[in-house]
Symmetry: C2
Subunit: 352 residues, 2 copies
C-alpha cells in the first residue's frame, strides 16, 4: 500500500532537545554519548530537556550516521557433535541476514575441554577488531580471569549454553540446566512403566558445567519424587562414540535390569548405535538432549522417548542481540532472551 501522506512520528528528535535546552546539536550529541568537553551545568540542562521531552534516540539513524559495524565472535568447542554443528550452521545462516543490520559474525573453535587453549585464544582477542564474544566452554579459574581481561578491554561477553557464572560475563545465553535435569527426571519417572527400576545417566565431561547442573537437577527430583528408582553412577561419555561403545556392554552385562537412560550430553550417536544393535530400544525409556538429525530419527523410531532441547536459532539470535545491546549499552527485553527448555515427543517435533 502506498502512504501518500505518512503521518509524522511526532517523536522528539535531537533537534527538539537542542532547541529546548538552548544548545547545539553537537552538544546534545556529546551528552547523549557521554563524550567529554561539556560543562556539567550544560549537561544537566540537556538532560532536563531529554527528560522533559522524554526523548529516546533512534538507534537506526545513529548507526547509519556512525557507519557502525558490530563484529561478534563465537568461541565454540571443536567437538564433532551435532549440536555444535547446528550452532555453527545457525551462525552461518544468520550472518547473511545480519549484513543488513551492520553485524558481522565469526567463529573460532577451541579444542574441547581444554581450558588452556581457550584462555590463550580469548586473551589474544583484539578489541579493535571485535566488539563482543559469545563463549561456550568450560568453567575454570583461568577462563574466568581471561574473560575478565577481555571485559576490561571493553569487549562485551556472554556465556553460551554452559554458564560461566563466576566470570564477569555480561549475560548467560542458554537454558536453566538444573531445571532441564529436573524435567528429565519427571518425565523419566512418569514414563517408565511401574515407576521403578535402575536408571543410567550418561554425562559428557566433569568440566562441563551444563552437564553437572543437569545431573544435579535430575538427582534431586528422582530422590524426592521417585525414590523407588535406583540411579547408577554417571558414565562419562566425553562426546566419544567409541568410548561409549566400549563402556556400555559390560555395564549392561552387570545391570541387565536398566529401565531408563538419561543421556544428558549432546553426543548421542554412540548410545543410539548401542541400543539399536542390542535391540534394547523398545524396552528402555530414553531421555536425550538436543534435537539433531540423529536424535530426531531416534525419536521417530522410538529409540528415544523424549528429547529435551534448546533452540539453536534462538540461542544465536539472543547472543547477537545481547552482545550488541551491551556493546552500546542499550536496553534489551529479558523475556525475549529467555531460552526455553523445549520438550519434544515425536508428536510435536518441528517439521524438517
Amino acid at each position: 500500500m502506498t502512504k501518500l501522506v505518512p503521518e509524522k512520528t511526532g517523536k522528539p528528535t535531537v533537534n527538539d532537545v537542542a532547541r529546548v535546552a538552548g544548545v547545539s546539536l553537537a552538544t546534545v550529541d556529546r551528552v547523549l554519548n557521554a563524550r567529554p568537553g561539556v560543562r556539567s551545568v550544560t549537561i544537566e540542562r540537556v538532560n532536563k530537556a531529554i527528560r522533559d521531552l522524554s526523548y529516546v534516540r533512534d538507534t537506526a539513524a545513529a548507526n547509519l550516521a556512525r557507519r557502525r559495524i558490530y563484529n561478534l565472535l563465537f568461541v565454540l568447542p571443536a567437538t564433532q557433535n551435532e549440536f555444535v554443528a547446528a550452532l555453527e550452521a545457525q551462525i552461518a545462516a544468520q550472518s547473511e541476514n545480519l549484513q543488513t543490520d551492520r553485524t558481522r559474525l565469526s567463529i573460532v573453535k577451541v579444542p574441547a575441554f581444554d581450558p588452556q587453549e581457550l584462555v590463550r585464544i580469548v586473551e589474544s582477542i583484539d578489541p579493535a577488531k571485535i566488539d563482543g564474544i559469545a563463549v561456550f566452554g568450560p568453567e575454570t579459574p583461568s577462563v574466568r580471569d581471561a574473560l575478565h581481561h577481555v571485559k576490561e578491554k571493553g569487549i562485551a561477553v556472554v556465556s553460551l549454553v554452559s554458564d560461566l557464572p563466576s566470570s564477569s560475563r555480561d549475560h548467560f545465553v542458554g537454558i536453566d540446566n538444573v531445571s532441564a535435569g529436573k524435567t528429565a527426571a519427571q518425565l523419566m519417572g512418569r514414563f517408565v512403566p511401574g515407576n521403578h527400576g535402575k536408571i543410567l545417566v550418561i554425562t559428557g565431561s566433569r568440566l562441563a558445567r551444563d552437564h553437572l547442573e543437569r545431573r544435579h537437577g535430575f538427582d534431586e527430583v528422582m530422590a524426592s519424587e521417585f525414590p523407588e528408582f535406583k540411579i547408577l553412577p554417571s558414565l562419562e561419555g566425553r562426546d566419544d562414540a567409541d568410548l561409549l561403545l566400549k563402556l556400555l556392554p559390560p555395564l549392561f552385562a552387570k545391570h541387565p535390569d536398566i529401565r531408563g537412560i538419561y543421556s544428558s550430553a549432546a553426543g548421542n550417536d554412540g548410545l543410539i548405535q548401542f541400543l539399536r544393535e542390542n535391540a534394547l530400544d523398545q524396552e528402555i525409556v530414553v531421555v536425550g538432549h538436543e534435537l539433531t538429525p540423529l536424535s530426531r530419527a531416534a525419536l521417530e523410531t522410538g529409540i528415544f522417548d523424549v528429547i529435551i532441547s534448546q533452540d539453536t536459532g534462538h540461542l544465536v539470535r539472543s547472543a547477537v542481540r545481547l552482545l550488541r545491546a551491551t556493546a552500546d549499552d542499550a536496553p534489551f527485553n529479558p523475556a525475549q532472551e529467555r531460552i526455553r527448555i523445549d520438550i519434544y515427543l515425536k508428536e510435536n517435533m518441528p517439521p524438517e
Copy 2:
C-alpha cells in the same frame, strides 16, 4: 568501546548502482520501489547494475527517509480468558519498544464466537489508517470473504492462534494445533498409571478451528497408540466457568472412573475449581492448554500435570514482523516465525 575509525561496510549503495547504470539516484529509487514512469530499457539497465553489484537496500536508511509508520491492528475475541488477556498484555508491552521501530499497535475486541460482528469490524477497516491486521477469530465463509476484501485494499493479513486457511491471509501465526492435540494424547497415554481408563475432553467452541484441530490430533493418537482408553464425548465449555461447573458434576456422577482430562481450550478456571472442590486433583491426570497465572498455579499444586502452551510474546512479535514484512513485501525468516508447541511440567516452568 569507541571505534575511532569505523571500517566502511564496503556494501554497494544506491549511488553505486546509479553510477554503474549511468542514471540518477531518483531513477534507481523508482525501479527499486517499482514506481511508474521509467522506460523498460532503463529498468533493465538498473536491474543489471543491481545484480552485478549484488546490491541490497538498507532498510534502516529507507525507513528513516520514508518516515514510514506501520499501523497494525490486532483483532481479538472479547472473552474473559487469561490467554487473550496475556496476548493483550504482550501487545501493550511490545508497542512501547516498537515506537523505536516506527510501529504502532492497536487492539480491537470482537464478541467471541460472533462471525457477524467480526465481519462488520474487518470490513470497516480504513486502509489509509491500517497497514496490517492480525485476526484471532472463527472461520466462516463470511469471515473469509471479509478478509479477502481487506487484502484487496492492500492491507496485510495474518491469522493468529486459530488459522483461517480458506481465506487469503498472508500467514498463519500460531502452533500446529493437530500436533498439539497429538502431543497431549501421547502425554496423557503415558502419564495415566496402568495406561487405561476413561478420558474426558473439554473443548471451547465448535466454531473454533484450533479446538477442533486439537481434538482431531488427540483422538488420532489415542486411537492408534492407546486403544485401551475410552474417550468420552467432548464437553463444550465456551470459556464459561459457570457452565462447566453445572455440566461437570452430573458427568462425574455418571462416570466416576474418569482417569484423565484433556482441557483443550484456554479457559481453565471452571475446571480447576471443580477439581479442587471435589478433591479429584491428585487422582486424575490433567493436560491443559496455555500457561497463565491460573494454570501455572494448578501445575505447581499438582492439579494439572502438563500444560501445552504457545509463547504469547513470540506470537505477537512474529505477527508484527510478518505483517511488516508483507506490508512492504520484504523477505522474512520462516524458522524464526515458527511458533513452538511448548510443553510445561512444573519442573520447566519459566520463572515468575
